[in-house]
Structures are given as structure tokens and as C-alpha cells.
């Protein structure tokens, strides 16, 4: 049985997370594509909180001792996946910065040389 208090807390946290996301995007601090994951997660949390039967059924099938354990495990799994995705994004950013730095430096020198020739 998924406790009512836990469900309420999840919904409240989701609302705050949603406000936080919208505020950051409105202030041009985030790109919309980077918020889609969090929007989907919020929707999932709200749905599971309103229909705890889904979690209870899944917990029984998977052999968890209580639905709360499943909720916790699920969040940990989601976080691991998200963090891996972020690691990949950071790697790609590092590579892009490297390319830009090299391009700027090479262009600077070639520009200087071509100015000297002129």
C-alpha cells in the first residue's frame, strides 16, 4: 500500500520542480529541449501518485516488499540513466570547446600572417 503522505509529497515536489523549470526557461537560462526529460518525469510522478494501484501492482510483480521500495528504486534507476546522459553531453561539450579553441587559434595566426603579407 502506497502511503497517502508519500503520494502527497511527490505531487508537491513535482509542482515545485515544474515551477522551477518554467522559471529558469522563462529567464532564458535553459533551452526547452533540455527540460523535456523533467517535464515527462513530472507527469509520470503525478500520474503514479494519483493512481497508486499501478505502483502496487508493479511492486507485487517484481517481488518488492513494499511499493515505497519500488518508488525509491525507480528514482535511483532514473537518476543513473539521466546522469549517464549528462556525462555524454558533457563529453560532447568538451569536444566542441576543443574544436572551437583550436579553430580560433589557427585562424588568428593565419589572419595575422595574411595581414603581414598585405
Amino acid at each position: 500500500m502506497l502511503p497517502l503522505i508519500l503520494r502527497t509529497i511527490l505531487i508537491i515536489v513535482s509542482i515545485f520542480l515544474l515551477i522551477f523549470i518554467v522559471h529558469n526557461t522563462a529567464k532564458s537560462k535553459m533551452r526547452i529541449e533540455d527540460t523535456i526529460f523533467w517535464l515527462l518525469l513530472i507527469i509520470l510522478i503525478v500520474v503514479l501518485s494519483i493512481f497508486p494501484q499501478i505502483v502496487e501492482l508493479a511492486a507485487n510483480l517484481a517481488g518488492f516488499m513494499s511499493p515505497s521500495n519500488l518508488v525509491l528504486s525507480f528514482f535511483v534507476f532514473v537518476l543513473i540513466v539521466k546522469i549517464f546522459s549528462l556525462s555524454k553531453q558533457v563529453s560532447m561539450l568538451e569536444n566542441k570547446i576543443k574544436e572551437l579553441t583550436q579553430r580560433v587559434a589557427v585562424d588568428k595566426l593565419r589572419h595575422k600572417k595574411s595581414n603581414k603579407i598585405n
Binding site: 518554467v22 522559471h23 526557461t25 522563462a26 532564458s28 535553459m30 533551452r31 526547452i32 529541449e33 527540460t35 523535456i36 517535464l39 566542441k96 574544436e99 572551437l100 579553430r103
Partner: protein
């Protein structure tokens, strides 16, 4: 030296080696009234080579930014050079330059002029048009405006819109940005009937996954984010 009363045709290009020479050559030979700027968006094929060989004017982006980032780079150039109007133009030959003058003229009266396939012609009710139909409906509900071809890439912007769009995230040339500009920046929009061809050569950027990502972003942007920007 600033260019007065001139229009910049911005041509984002990613791996368009098969089309770029024909498209830009046509502009250079037959449409000299217009300045143009190709955006080489980190192409991995011979696009840059072809641009250099023909001495076409282009921005050589060192990394791939995508359509939004590439077009925005062109807008930064337009701001710096003082252009009155900027028009987005496809590098794959789908857009017809015969309509450029009409679009540019209309920006004297409207902030954004869309080259629309369905301004006067009827839009077919097919699967291919599903995205277009959905987005039109969404725009009608949220902004009370009728746009028959909201995904058209052939759009002209006046100086005020160029300045708005040239900086910051979430400013891509997509329907949700249109909705934002209408609601928050009082943008006036006009649709003008144009003809477009189908792509003849090269690979399209559109895949099923990208279409889903696109619709998710447009939907959440228009329904949630635009109210707070």
C-alpha cells in the same frame, strides 16, 4: 559601412554538396538585388569546398549548431551589417527565389512574413500535413491567429524581429517562437502564397524520432513556457 534598405537572404546548409551550387548560383546570376549569406553548419561533405571554389559568401561554422543556431548566426551578421530585412531560404532548392521580392516588400508593413504554401490554396488533409494541422490548431487556440503553413521555412523578418531573434536560447525559426513573438512582442504576421518544390537530391534532416522530439518541444513550448517568457 552599413547597408541601407537591403535584404539579406540567409541560407542554412548542412551537407548540401549536391544542391548548394545550383541554389546559390541562381541567386547570384538572376537575383542580384539581394545580398545572401550561406551558413555552412559544420558540413562534413564538400559543401565548404564548393562554397570556397565559387567564392560564395558564407559563414563557416566550426561545429554543427543545427538550424536554429545556424540561422541565428546569420541574424547576428544581419544586425551588425544593418540589414532591414532577413529572409530564411532553403539550401536544397525547395524554395523559389521569385517570391523573395514580395516577401521583402511585405516586411515594410508586417513584422514577420511567411511564404506559405496554403495562404490561398487549400491545405490537403493528409498524414503528411498532420504536424502542420496540429500546430495550426494549437496556434489558433493559444494566440487566436490563423496560420495555414506554420512550419514553412521561407520566412522574412523585419529589423525589429531580427534584433529580437539574434540572441539567446529558444529563439529558433519554429512555430513556438512565432507564438512567443505574437504574444509577448506584439509581432504582426502575414502569409503570402508561394510555390515550393520537393527535395530532388541529398538527404532530408527529418526522421520519425526527430519529428516526435520536434512536436514535444513545440507543444510544451506553446502550452507551458510561452506564458512565462
Amino acid at each position: 559601412m552599413l547597408v541601407m534598405n537591403k535584404t539579406l537572404v540567409i541560407i542554412p546548409a548542412y551537407n548540401e554538396e549536391e544542391n548548394i551550387q545550383a541554389v546559390v548560383g541562381n541567386l547570384v546570376n538572376n537575383f542580384q538585388d539581394f545580398d545572401y549569406l550561406v551558413i555552412n553548419d559544420g558540413s562534413t561533405d564538400n559543401t565548404a569546398k564548393i562554397l570556397r571554389k565559387n567564392e560564395y559568401q558564407f559563414l563557416d561554422l566550426p561545429i554543427n549548431l543545427g538550424l536554429a543556431g545556424g540561422f541565428q548566426a546569420g541574424l547576428k551578421y544581419a544586425v551588425d551589417e544593418g540589414y532591414q530585412c532577413a529572409i530564411q531560404f532553403d539550401a536544397d532548392g525547395q524554395h523559389h527565389p521569385e517570391y523573395l521580392q514580395t516577401l521583402a516588400n511585405a516586411t515594410k508593413d508586417y513584422d514577420i512574413v511567411i511564404g506559405s504554401r496554403f495562404a490561398t490554396k487549400k491545405r490537403p488533409k493528409s498524414m503528411r500535413m498532420l504536424g502542420n494541422i496540429l500546430i495550426s490548431g494549437l496556434l489558433k487556440i493559444t494566440c487566436k491567429i490563423t496560420i495555414k503553413d506554420p512550419t514553412s521555412g521561407m520566412r522574412a523578418y523585419n529589423k525589429r524581429m531580427i534584433k529580437e531573434l539574434s540572441y539567446g536560447p529558444n529563439k529558433g525559426p519554429e512555430p513556438d517562437t512565432l507564438a512567443y513573438l505574437i504574444k509577448k512582442k506584439n509581432a504582426s504576421i502575414k502569409e503570402i502564397q508561394v510555390e515550393m518544390s520537393d527535395r530532388t537530391a541529398g538527404k532530408s534532416y527529418i526522421t520519425l524520432w526527430r519529428s516526435c522530439e520536434y512536436m514535444a518541444r513545440i507543444f510544451s513550448s506553446i502550452t507551458i513556457f510561452n506564458h512565462f517568457r
